[in-house]
Amino acid sequence: MLEIRGLHASVDGTEILRGIDLSVSAGEIHAVMGPNGSGKSTLAQVLAGHPAYEVTAGTVTYLGQDLLALDPEERAQQGVFLAFQYPVEIPGVSNAYFLRSSYNEVRKARGQEEVDPLEFLSLMEEKLRIVHMSDEMLNRSVNSGFSGGEKKRNEILQMAVLEPRLAILDETDSGLDIDALRVVADGVNKLRDPENATIVVTHYQRLLNYIIPDRVHVLVQGRIARSGGKELALELEARGYDWLVPEAGA
């Protein structure tokens, strides 16, 4: 589904990704772990098309096409979804309107009919249950005044509505208490499908107790330092990241 080859990316002239290779197949969950500043969030943002990051080398192929040639909205319309580490507040736009606009754009791109507000509401009832949210959240401005946990749940709600082929969760666990973490993880697990793939970017192993990855990759200084099965996450939990970090000057 996703083939990343020799990916280099920089922000403001500073190189953050320094040659990433990664293959993700349909039905798989991959965890990308690493210490702060290793480039994990950059990788997530580059895949979604954040304008601040410049890809300087390498290729990304998604469902047989050049992902990097697509605008962010085209990527979303073709099934790429990024759950933001810091979801953006948009005062004045209701969550309901935002979600439905987004849903209809994705449907249009798939050649499906747009839904009207009533049809959308009945769809929302089911989706809200997945993330234990009340419909009162739909009337509020997008993420405005939401608590940290509400923002993260709102991201998973969007994911549930858009049903992406490739979901990228960028530190969705950060700042969540254990109950909120369970809700988010349950949501992700319910949305699993043999046709879809998920990349979970996380600093801690904790989330991986609830979302069991097929593969774990450790990013260090912009490169994948090690890949393995889910037991690698446990090893990182026990030993930390230092043993994978090259000596200074090495």
Partner: protein, 447 residues
């Protein structure tokens, strides 16, 4: 010199007014034209006009508009109304009231909505007591209006009367307004503990160049609540200068919304004096400029007594080469202890050529007060744009939605739903070129 032109016009005008004006008005007009002649048109050297040159107005000899012009059909003005049969509506064409286009609506007993000539006949004492007593002729445009006004609306809500339906005063310019000037003069009196909503709309049926010079005087008596919505949608080649001068008694509340999107050059002054303890003023506004438009908003809130509050939020959206101005003064007199004032002005620039000058001013002469103010000028939030795009929303739609959200935020202050919905629709049309029927704002319930 156009000042001399208006002085000559006044000589003719005052001869013709003999018999039409009450005796008290003639000397008021005379001293107003003298004041105008002494002041002349303001220049950017005047502090209050620093960012706005009125040369395009001062250089032209606008003809007095003597009649309501051609025959305007009800269907032509209908789109500017709210489609509510119960709402009293007075329609003025080129400054003259046209009863044929007006509607009495559902007015409670004792409440009056009259054109000025009728008010001078039917409630002369009340008109004499208030008219020309509030708005100062130290403003040259107010002086000019005072010298020349002929028509306008007089609204009187007697003590303890509560209006359920808003009153709409609709000022329309038609093709025969070209090169002409009208001086609408309005008077709104909300008696003790009265409650009412009055809407003033200024619109055009053509793209003509004309000049509207309006003055509205408002008295909000003890315990009364008055909502005042001002909708300025003049022709894109028109000039619009207006002053609303409000006087507030004890425990009164005046809530104003000023919506300005029309005219080549506009200047809207909203001034209030909180002249009784416990009074409050809420002044909000939205101005949207495009092309070469110049939109100036000036507010002044005078805290003249203790324990009063004021709240003010003005937002501006400037596109093309348009120029927005906000100048908001909050003046706290030495006696006005425990004043609670908040003011903000936020501007969104949609183009590199658009420009805004914002000048919030606090002048505080009392020591026990709580006053804040702030102003921002910015562009659309790139991160919010990316967030929306990452959800599949195309870049243009995302931009429109964010711009509209910026406007909707302040439009939510409008309590009257039909008014709010009309202004939301106008704002949407402004940014998309086409209306969408549906509310996007967070205030809008799921309908």
């Amino acid at each position: 010199m156009t000042v001399q032109y208006y002085q000559q016009e006044f000589a003719d005008f005052s001869r013709r007014r003999t018999g039409a004006d009450p005796a008290w008005l003639a000397p008021v007009r005379r001293s107003a034209i003298e004041r105008f002649a002494a002041l002349g048109f303001p220049t950017p050297r005047d502090e209050d006009w620093h960012f706005t040159s009125v040369a395009p107005i001062a250089e032209k000899e606008f003809q007095s508009l003597d009649s309501a012009g051609g025959l305007v059909e009800p269907a032509a003005v209908a789109p500017f109304g709210f489609g509510e049969d119960d709402w009293p509506q007075l329609v003025f064409v080129n400054g003259h009231c046209v009863p044929r286009l007006s509607m009495p609506g559902a007015l409670p007993r004792g409440a009056r909505v009259l054109d000025l000539p009728s008010a001078l006949r039917e409630i002369p004492d009340l008109v004499e007591r208030w008219l020309t007593t509030l708005a100062s002729v130290d403003n040259a445009f107010t002086a000019l209006n005072t010298a020349f006004f002929r028509d306008g609306a007089v609204v009187h809500i007697p003590a303890s009367v509560e209006l359920t339906e808003p009153i709409h005063l609709l000022f329309v310019a038609d093709a025969s307004a070209a090169k002409g000037v009208s001086h609408p003069r309005n008077l709104i009196i909300a008696g003790r503990n009265a409650r009412a909503t009055v809407i003033e709309s200024y619109v055009s049926l053509t793209e003509g160049s004309y000049f509207t010079n309006a003055v509205t005087e408002v008295a909000v008596e003890e315990g009364a609540t008055l909502r005042h919505y001002r909708i300025q949608r003049e022709s894109s080649r028109a000039f619009h200068v207006a002053t609303t001068q409000v006087h507030q008694a004890r425990d009164s509340h005046f809530l104003s919304f000023s919506f300005a999107t029309g005219a080549a050059l506009s200047r809207t002054n909203i001034y209030t004096v909180l002249d009784g303890e416990g009074a409050g003023a809420t002044l909000d506004g939205l101005y949207m400029g495009a092309d070469e438009q110049h939109i100036d908003n000036q507010t002044r809130i005078e805290h003249a007594q203790p324990n009063c509050f004021s709240r003010e939020v003005y937002k501006g959206i400037l596109d093309g080469s348009s120029h927005g101005v906000f100048n908001g003064k909050v003046l706290v007199r030495p006696i006005a202890q425990k004043t609670d004032g908040k003011q903000s002005n936020n501007n969104l620039l949609l183009s590199d050529r658009a420009r805004v000058d914002t000048k919030p001013q606090l002048e505080i002469f009392a020591d026990d007060v709580k006053c804040t103010h702030g102003a921002t000028i910015g562009r659309l939030d790139e991160l919010a744009l990316f967030y929306m795009k990452s959800r599949g929303i195309p870049a243009d739609t995302a931009r429109t939605l964010l711009t509209f959200a910026f406007a909707a935020d302040v439009l939510q202050q409008i309590e009257s739903v039909p008014v709010r919905e009309m202004l939301e629709r106008l704002a949407r049309e402004r940014f998309t070129g086409s209306p969408t029927e549906e509310p996007v704002g967070a205030s809008a319930a799921l309908r």
